[in-house]
């Protein structure tokens, strides 16, 4: 499946929008878990938990491998980093923006003084 970067981003944000899926990610941040281990603390049925894991797999946040009868899931952090990059850059930009605002305000003050002199 080939997706452009923004669609991948949409899948990641969609995957993170549900508290159960965030809980799964939290669990997996502690290491590999099988599906029943993931389902039990969520107090949900096995099929319901499996559905959430599939959403995470589609967003490529989780990888699953089959070992005998067990389905083992692990976290794949790459897409998570990509998704957070935008908001991170947006927020870290604040001081740079305020410096641009300083420059604009200087211009506005000069304009006002010029207008006052012309009057």
């Amino acid at each position: 499946m080939v997706l452009d970067r923004s669609s991948r981003l949409d899948l990641v944000f969609h995957a993170l929008a549900h508290p159960a899926r965030r809980a799964i990610i939290r669990q997996l941040s502690g290491g590999e878990r099988n599906l029943s281990e993931l389902a039990s603390p969520l107090k949900m049925t096995f099929p319901a938990a499996t559905k959430h894991v599939r959403v995470l797999e589609r967003a490529r946040l989780v990888r699953r491998r089959i070992a005998g009868r067990e389905h083992l899931c692990r976290l794949h952090a790459g897409p998570l980093k990509e998704a957070t990059l935008w908001t991170e850059q947006f927020r870290k930009n604040w001081e740079a923006r305020f410096e641009a605002l300083d420059a604009l305000l200087e211009e506005m003050k000069t304009e006002e003084r010029t207008r006052a002199r012309c009057r």
């Binding site: 923004s6 969609h14 965030r22 941040s29 998570l80 930009n93 305020f98 604009l104 305000l105 506005m108």
Partner: protein
């Protein structure tokens, strides 16, 4: 007096307060912050992105709308807000929701701007109120996703207990 750099504090569990001074009267700061053609001059988008739409009607029930486009086709992010309070040159409050290209919201907050000036220097105080401590912490950590930062902390505690 030189403008004071950005100060960031977290006075309560769900708020972030940004304080910054500007070397201009608050009337001009207000104008620069609420007039779309002036907002475009300083509201720098993340690298590689451009501001496609910038609308701001700083009156009660007026709307705030920003759309950014990325360098790649189809990349788009938006911010929508509604003003709930607007006292010209003094104080304004608006809601704020960040939206994906699909329209799916990824974060919301309420933001209040307060302006006071003395001797031609304006102090602006922005108070951001988030829906939960979890989301607020995410905004502070800037890089953690909703729930991630708090989640990892809980996990750390859990692991410490189980040892």
């Amino acid at each position: 007096m030189n403008p004071q750099g950005l100060q960031v504090t977290t006075p309560t569990d769900t708020t972030i307060v940004l304080t910054r001074t500007f070397n201009a009267p608050r009337r001009l700061v207000w104008e620069a912050m609420t007039t779309p053609d002036k907002m475009r001059r300083w509201m720098l988008p993340p690298p590689g992105w451009t501001i496609a739409v910038c609308e701001c009607d700083a009156r009660v029930a007026g709307t705030l709308r920003l759309v950014w486009h990325g360098a790649e086709a189809g990349q788009s992010m938006a911010l929508h807000g509604v003003f709930t309070e607007a006292i010209t040159h003094e104080r304004m409050t608006h809601t704020e929701v960040m939206l994906l290209r699909t329209g799916e919201p990824i974060g919301s907050q309420v933001e209040t701007h307060e302006f006071s000036d003395k001797g031609g220097v304006t102090t602006m105080r922005i108070t951001q109120v988030y829906v939960s401590k979890e989301v607020r912490d995410c905004a502070v950590a800037s890089g953690a996703c909703p729930g991630m930062e708090e989640g990892f902390k809980q996990l750390d505690e859990l692991l410490a207990q189980s040892v």
